[in-house]
């Protein structure tokens, strides 16, 4: 975001202005609470014992901090019939997310590059068609995809999920890179061609190195989308191959036994921590991804 030059404008000072400014901060602070309270609740509940949960309210901080729920969530909680905690499912998510992110990013870069820097007939139509694919409700491909995965022998497997996420992530990654490359001057391309470089030479030698910002945005966006996905996970995997989001839902929604709210919260934190950490560390790029996904052209 550009730096503003309007902060220096002389404004009327006085009690009215101070009051208004105070009101401003109050509202902003109120909303900070609004967004932070659930996070606080999640953490504090996960650190309480079940008795304390029943004794207090969901806002009261834990009097005796215990990590018992965490341990349980990690390796003892029951997901369906298997009671090994969330650990195996976290690994499923990792195995699913990393390849899918990598492949969809690289292919998206190639796509975006070819579509913007090499005018060929139909490039715009092809882009429009790919782009539309990013906005379809995925319900409309669930059934045929389930069948196709079955026919490929990938039904209910993590590699199957990798395929699904790669294919449907391609639309977004192509969009990101295409928008980025549109802003890269054609002059660089022309100079490289004069220097004798070809399609792949320019891609690997010049374009890819300079697309670091776009790569970072894309990777962060894809990681968040794929890790957080639930629909594909629940539709295309069963039991052992579930990603952590599906496992979380199963843990929370078990109808058997006593509801262990602290375990539920701990499990939620485990499932949400990776993307939250990525956000905290690389938030600026995440925001850029959000705006790029809004097709600002």
């Amino acid at each position: 975001m550009r730096q503003r030059t309007t902060s220096g404008i002389v404004r009327p000072s006085g009690p009215g202005a101070v009051l208004l400014r105070g009101l401003l901060f109050a509202v902003l602070a109120l909303f900070c609470l609004y967004y932070l309270v659930p996070l606080f609740v999640m953490i504090s509940t996960s650190l309480k014992s079940l008795e304390e949960i029943r004794a207090g309210t969901f806002l009261s901080p834990p009097r005796a901090v215990t990590f018992e729920a965490w341990g349980k969530a990690w390796n003892a909680a029951c997901v369906g019939v298997r009671c090994d905690g969330l650990e195996p499912y976290v690994w499923n998510s990792v195995l699913m997310t990393v390849p899918a992110v990598a492949i969809s990013t690289i292919l998206g870069a190639l796509n975006g590059y070819a579509l913007t820097k090499w005018r060929f007939p139909g490039a715009d139509i092809i882009f429009a068609l790919i782009l539309f694919g990013a906005f379809i409700p995925f319900q409309v491909i669930l059934l045929p995809m389930a069948r196709t995965l079955g026919q490929l022998g990938l039904a209910g497997t993590v590699p199957g999920l990798i395929l699904v996420h790669t294919v449907y992530g391609l639309a977004f990654t192509t969009l990101f890179f295409r928008n980025f490359f549109v802003g890269v001057s054609d002059g660089i391309m022309q100079a490289a061609k004069v220097d004798g470089a070809g399609f792949f030479g320019i891609f690997f030698g010049i374009v890819l190195p300079m697309s670091l910002p776009a790569i970072v945005v894309t990777v962060i966006w894809q990681f968040t989308q794929i890790w957080n996905d639930f629909l594909f996970g629940v539709a295309f995997t069963v039991g052992d191959s579930n990603p952590v989001t599906v496992a979380l839902n199963n843990v929370v929604n078990t109808s058997t036994g006593v509801k262990e709210y602290n375990v539920d919260m701990a499990a939620a934190i485990i499932a949400g921590l990776p993307t939250l950490l990525v956000y905290v560390v690389a938030g600026a790029y995440f925001v850029r991804g959000l705006s790029a996904g809004a097709v600002k052209g």
Partner: protein, 299 residues
């Protein structure tokens, strides 16, 4: 001699066609997995498919069955209620926060980070947390009772008439920061000199926003509505985590409806029909928008 030049011409043609060759397989993937699949689903919605897909053409029979199902109407009604409230409230909060953050706040970066972090969470995580907060008996109801409001009840989560509003609450919490980010970016794109001219013209801050800045941001309004609408139509994860579609199917939405009929009740034809209905709704909203955006960028 001739062979060499033949290879060279072949090489050159290959080189020229290379972009197309590179994009083609990727595009074909798209073509197959997106449009091919859409076509398959659409076709299935026109067949007699039940537990297994059957390819005998049955006209619009599945659509008739769909529109004869009371649950579908519940899903549509919920979608309508949810979307209007979700979009309306998120936009209102988004605009408010964006305007407030535009007032040269020192801690702006940190506050923005706080407002946006819910977007980084999975809808399942959000649903899980809010399910706990809105828990009848141990959540807000309990808190209020402890605080002295003896007769306070908050059982929306299990109340057929009010459950859909809990989904609104959780969804607004997750996505209003996104609306804020979009508006803030829009506000920042307004030329500084216009604001300076307004300062000299003497407009009070309120007037500057309503009379000058917000009219400039009309396109941002539109794209935010479109994006939020798109999110709303696809709501599946949140509903599953928060209410499971219940109580009963009181919080059913087209997405959960489709899933139930496809994978639980095994009525593939009806499921396909509902999916096609969802696609048509999304298309009606997205396509005109994408068209105008793409046309703008090509200029």
């Amino acid at each position: 001699m001739q062979q060499a030049s033949l290879f060279r011409t072949l090489g050159q043609t290959l080189e020229r066609r290379l972009p197309l060759l590179v994009v083609s397989p990727l595009f074909s993937l798209s073509l197959f997995f997106v449009y091919g699949f859409i076509a398959w689903t659409a076709y299935i919605s026109l067949t007699k498919s039940g537990v297994m897909p059957v390819y005998t053409f049955d006209g619009l029979a599945q659509y008739e069955r769909l529109w004869d199902t009371p649950r579908w109407y519940v899903a549509l009604k919920n979608l309508f209620i949810f979307s209007s409230l979700f979009i309306g409230i998120s936009m209102a909060i988004g605009i408010l926060l964006a305007i407030l953050l535009d007032q040269h706040i020192r801690l702006e970066g940190m506050i923005r980070t706080i407002y946006l972090y819910p977007m980084a969470l999975s809808f399942i995580v959000t649903g899980t947390v809010w399910k706990w907060i809105l828990n009848p008996g141990l959540g807000i109801e309990h808190l209020m009772r402890q605080a002295g409001f003896e007769n306070f009840t908050f059982d929306w989560l299990v109340n057929s008439d009010f459950a859909i509003y809990t989904v609104v609450i959780a969804a607004v919490w997750q996505s209003s920061g996104y609306a804020m980010a979009l508006f803030l970016a829009g506000l920042r794109s307004v030329d500084d000199e216009i604001l300076k001219a307004a300062a000299i013209d003497g407009a009070r801050p309120w007037r500057v926003y309503t009379g000058i800045v917000l009219p400039i941001l009309r396109p941002v309004f539109l794209s935010t509505v479109i994006i939020l609408a798109h999110l709303a139509i696809k709501s599946f994860d949140l509903v599953v985590a928060l209410t499971g579609g219940g109580p009963g199917y009181a919080t059913d939405m087209p997405a959960t409806f489709m899933y139930a009929f496809a994978f639980q009740r095994s009525e593939l034809g009806v499921a396909a029909a509902s999916a096609v209905m969802m696609l048509m709704t999304v298309t009606a909203i997205i396509v005109p928008y994408l068209y105008s955006e793409l046309r703008g960028t090509r200029k």
